[in-house]
């Protein structure tokens, strides 16, 4: 029982990161219909930026905020300079651009900071408390930061005119222009926000997975799985999907361990977690492409 609780708790912690990555993917998808395959590598690069700032003597939180702000600018710049001229290009060309971006960020990080694994400090104190057998302080911190960021984003999109304009631009660009909204800038802003969210995800997960250029590769897949489970067109769904995938992968590994312990046969275990994510992706795409919470817009004709 203890082991089960522990698995669920750490699943929620991982799920928080997947939720952020999923949200970053959805943020770009809803306004452009593109899946940014470079999202993970951009987040990894942002994490290096944060690490560098910490090395230069900034405190953790200042470094995180500056890194997120820089990532925001990088995201906006990519949209304005690379994707803007390609707005009428075919989907395939866009995919190639994303893969190119992925490779560029990957090799740039390797060239600047080398491929050796670096330790990343956790900002949360290593204290023990009631229940710390189930979940560590860093995991709780990860969940807390995620929830704070999600609430802030929710408030931004729900209650501010700019957030409303971004939603309007994503939904119906022509009508948004006719309301005077500068749709091009809204897209760039969406890219910036996605990159900043990715930065937070990368920095939060880095103490757990260590810092190296490949750190986000698996996490992007989980985030993608989360986004699909929840519904790639629904930000709230993507967040829920991220948490679901996080818990699910741990539960599957947990059940596999139990089977091995009691029946003596190894079917599935920690090593197959990524496989589980991929199976989720394929299953959702086949059975329910709109995801669990994907909204089918009501329209009367």
């Amino acid at each position: 029982m203890d082991e089960l609780l522990q698995q669920v708790a750490s699943g929620l912690a991982n799920g928080a990161i997947y939720a952020l990555v999923a949200l970053a993917l959805v943020m770009i998808f809803v306004s452009t219909d593109h899946i940014n395959f470079a999202q993970g590598e951009m987040a990894m690069f942002s994490t290096y930026l944060c690490w560098q700032l910490i090395q230069w003597g900034f405190s953790f939180w200042i470094a995180l905020i500056v890194a997120a702000a820089l990532s925001f600018l990088i995201g906006m710049t990519i949209e304005r300079t690379i994707l803007r001229p390609l707005r009428h290009a075919s989907v395939l060309s866009i995919v190639v651009v994303f893969i190119g971006l992925l490779a560029i960020f990957h090799s740039m990080a390797g060239a600047i900071w080398s491929h050796t694994i670096k330790e990343f400090p956790s900002p949360f104190p290593k204290v023990s408390f009631a229940g710390s057998g189930y979940i560590g302080p860093h995991q709780i911190g990860m969940i807390a930061v995620t929830l704070i960021l999600l609430s802030a984003l929710f408030a931004f999109f729900r209650f501010t005119p700019l957030g409303l304009a971004m939603r309007a631009a994503a939904q119906n660009p022509i009508s948004a222009r006719l309301a005077g909204v500068r749709v091009d800038w809204m897209l760039a802003l969406g890219w910036g926000l996605a990159a900043a969210i990715g930065a937070v995800a990368g920095v939060m997960v880095a103490p757990a997975v260590y810092l190296e250029p490949n750190m986000m590769a698996g996490i992007l897949l989980y985030g993608f799985a989360g986004a699909l489970v929840g519904g790639i067109s629904s930000p709230g769904g993507a967040v829920a999907g991220g948490f679901i995938v996080g818990v699910l992968e741990n539960l599957v590994a947990f059940i596999g361990n139990q089977i091995e312990r009691h029946a003596g046969v190894y079917i599935i275990g920690n090593g197959e977690k990524l496989t589980v994510a991929l199976i989720i992706v394929i299953t959702v795409l086949t059975l329910k492409p709109s995801g669990l919470f994907g909204r089918i817009t009501v329209r009367r004709v």
Partner: protein
């Protein structure tokens, strides 16, 4: 009366194909002008050209300022509101959010609230449905919402593309009555594109008839309405 919009030798292009062959017309301040003609005559294209939604040649002067070549959102910000074909509803947003998006460019908050109340006075039904998802509104209500969104911009010129399209006759009458009131009370000029020429000529004081991308007839609405020959040959009723 002074000229609000002057269009001269306007050509418009969809890719390489030319949709307007040099359209010229003028709109006076505070008037209602109808743009009539058969399917494919270039009525919708003319409205799109004014709003910078298609590539154009020729000159478009709004309040004496050249607007051709500008981005749609910049033209809108100058005071041109476009109620598009198909109503352009933000279907997943609530009715209230639809109206708030339309007021996005405005910083005069108290005036925005006043305009919101004005819109509800014209269309009380929208007030009842304020929190409803706009995609669930009926066609007539969505048309009312589209006109209201345009009003929230506090425009000096309103372009209306087939406001009667797909609506029941009673609703159309109601909407046209309200459009007249809007014109009288807010002094906004209307440029109205309609298939239903009889309806449009009742509302308008000026009319232009388009055929294959050219203006073939113009004059005050009453005389065009009473000219049987024009009616038969161009307006089809």
């Amino acid at each position: 009366m002074s000229v609000l919009l002057a269009v001269k030798d306007l050509a418009a292009f969809y890719g390489p194909s030319r949709a307007l062959q040099g359209v010229s017309f003028e709109l006076v301040q505070g008037g209602i002008t109808a743009l009539l003609g058969a399917n494919g005559a270039g009525k919708t294209t003319t409205l799109r050209a004014i709003c910078g939604m298609v590539r154009t040649e020729g000159s478009i002067l709004f309040e004496g300022r050249a607007v051709n070549g500008r981005a749609t959102e910049s033209i809108v910000r100058l005071g041109v509101a476009h109620v598009p074909e198909g109503r352009g509803t933000f279907t997943a947003l609530s009715v209230e959010e639809n109206l708030r998006v339309a007021a996005y460019t405005r910083r005069d908050r108290s005036a925005v609230r006043q305009d919101m109340d004005m819109v509800f006075a014209y269309f009380p039904r929208l007030k009842e449905r304020l929190q409803q998802q706009a995609g669930t509104l009926s066609g007539g209500e969505q048309q009312m919402l589209a006109i209201s969104r345009a009003l929230m911009l506090r425009p000096r010129l309103m372009l209306l593309d087939e406001p009667s399209f797909g609506l029941a006759p009673l609703i159309v009458q109601e909407i046209f009555r309200i459009m007249r009131r809007i014109n009288e009370e807010t002094k906004v000029s209307l440029l109205l594109v309609e298939q239903n020429a009889a309806l449009a000529l009742d509302l308008a004081d000026q009319a232009y008839v388009l055929e294959t991308g050219r203006v073939v007839m113009s004059g005050d609405a009453a005389s065009i309405k009473n000219n049987e020959q024009i009616r038969r040959s161009y307006l089809g009723y």
